[in-house]
Point group: C2
DNA sequence: CCGTATCCTAAATGATACTG
DNA sequence: CAGTATCATTTAGGATACGG
């Protein structure tokens, strides 16, 4: 059973860069949107409220580089670009969907837990900037 | 079925802060480690190679605040603190586990996709600083 | 329309020192 | 041991302007 003191998640583990790149909120949302159907850049942009063009471009390129999303130019003037999910991307999206579903199922519990935690820690320097203003 | 132009992931959606806080690599790894058994701070630290004390403290407090992890002081001098996963945390870990399993199953495919992408984009200004040196 | 490039600011990160 | 605090540096993020 080994010593239990050797790292479980070694820095050199091949999954590290994968989690680094893909375990973030925009990837979850983008794959979810593209999973429905191929869509154009600005359509995706409008459906992910709050994302900037720069952030979307970066996220899409990262997903494309990992083979999860395909980029296709469908016209030349004005340029139209359609993004679609690959089968590899679709398989990841299923796992992501479970995380997203969990978040939907448990958001009330989480919000309560946060309120309880915060009231237990009154007066301490916690910076929880909620937009609940 | 609606206009398909309204945002799917509205900024005010209750799941947004959840994804913001929990959809990151350290949360995935920490819950995975704590899922085995309750463990002390520095044990967790050693098993997550590359994490700093500061990052671990912050991540643990965030998980604690969301009710996914429980913190328990088990001695006074020298201080010993044990972290354990809650049942809520365990339910999330199951979804995370699917993501982690996916990463393990597909890391070869992903690495190949990246190589292909990079060779297709030779000469462009992509800054992919791999540690493959 | 779909980006890239630049600039600027805000936030995350890392190293170090210190406390109970 | 398990943190907190501070500071320096890096990185991410947003706004804007511009190009194919």
């Amino acid at each position: 059973m080994a010593s239990f003191e050797e790292p479980t998640f070694a820095a050199a583990c091949a999954t590290r860069p994968i989690l680094d790149q893909l375990a973030n909120k925009w990837s979850v949302m983008i794959l979810s949107v593209l999973c429905e159907r191929p869509q154009r850049f600005n359509v995706v942009r409008r459906r992910l409220e709050g994302i900037t063009q720069k952030a979307l471009t970066q996220a899409l390129r990262r997903l494309e580089r990992n083979g999860l999303v395909r980029r296709r130019v469908i016209a030349d003037s004005p340029v139209a670009v359609e993004y679609s999910i690959t089968s590899l991307g679709r398989s990841l999206q299923q796992s992501f969907q479970a995380v997203y579903q969990w978040a939907m199922d448990h958001c009330a519990e989480l919000e309560k837990a946060q309120r309880d935690f915060d009231s237990r820690h009154l007066g301490e320097t916690i910076d929880h900037e909620d937009e609940a203003g």
